[in-house]
């Protein structure tokens, strides 16, 4: 359940931001969690609800963008979409795809007041 740690990190980042340019609360928070980031979105939402109360994030709406996984297939010389790390290339069936995207965990933007 590292989703709990992720939510605590999110809170730290937002609090640091609030210290830099003062705002009272966050009403909307946008995250980008790639399909290959190893994060369970439902668990992340659950943990967010546990972390947010009585903080600057209390009541914030969570908007999670989930970019698909992308990988390079060397035999095909193609970039392919990947829903998980254990699948083969949908074109040639080769394994050992090199993940090139969709493993990010980022805070993108927020609406504050």
């Amino acid at each position: 359940m590292h989703e709990m740690s992720l939510c605590e990190s999110i809170l730290q980042i937002v609090e640091a931001e609030a210290a830099r340019e003062p705002f009272m609360r966050v009403t909307w928070l946008q995250l980008e969690i790639g399909a290959l980031a190893g994060v369970e979105i439902d668990a992340l939402r659950f943990c967010f609800e546990a972390v947010a109360p009585n903080t600057i994030l209390a009541g914030a709406e969570l908007d999670i963008v989930e970019p698909p996984g992308e990988a390079r297939c060397v035999p095909c010389d193609k970039t392919v979409l990947l829903t998980d790390r254990y699948s083969c290339c949908p074109h040639c069936g080769a394994y050992g795809l090199q993940v090139t995207g969709g493993d990010q965990m980022r805070i993108k933007a927020m609406e504050v007041e």
Partner: protein, 250 residues
Amino acid sequence: MCTVCGCGDAHHHYGQGVARAHAPGLSQARMVKIEQDILGKNAEYAQRNRARFREQGILALNLVSSPGSGKTSLLTRTLTDLKGQYPLAVIEGDQETSQDADRIRATGVSAVQINTGKGCHLDGHMVGHALETLNPDPGALLFIENVGNLVCPAAFDLGEAHKVAILSVTEGEDKPIKYPDMFAAADLMLLNKTDLLPHLDFDVALCMEYARRIHPDIEILQVSAKTGAGMEQWYQWLRAHRPEPESPAR
């Protein structure tokens, strides 16, 4: 004024998502673009640890596995066999108890125990603090035994040179594809408890194939911490991956 790019618009719309539901109206609401890695802070701590390891010629390894793979037994054997050849140090991560650190200290090697409490993994910050206490000698082999968990520790850089995944043959041979993030992150897989193979249906070749599906370049060594079989290859791997000592300053 916009706080991101200085434009006159007090509100930016991003994409087609729920943001559009928030009409800025006359409220004080404003958009702030952050663009920060959620684990950015951990990455900073990890980099600090890594810089320390580099300066002091320390080879730091992050040992990851399921509970019960024989990590601590493998480690105590390694320490016993290598003692006197190199400076050695251990950071032990467990949710509770100092049992493992006690086992390590029984070999005569200094160890610091981190109890993560409810936490499921070590992070760069915890390891940084453990280093203050442990203060490993220059040129040391530092083994960081992570919490037994094949999921969460994959995401947290500690500043190590390599993650080493330990898988025992009493587990399923399909663990590499069941927990692909960890095997994608590990540079070496130690297949442990091979002395038990005659009693099991474990398919070594299939396990290795699964691991290479996830990580084509992963190195794999078969070992038995109990009998010592294959351990010499592991020690050779350690020797080969120790940083070159820096030439003395003149």
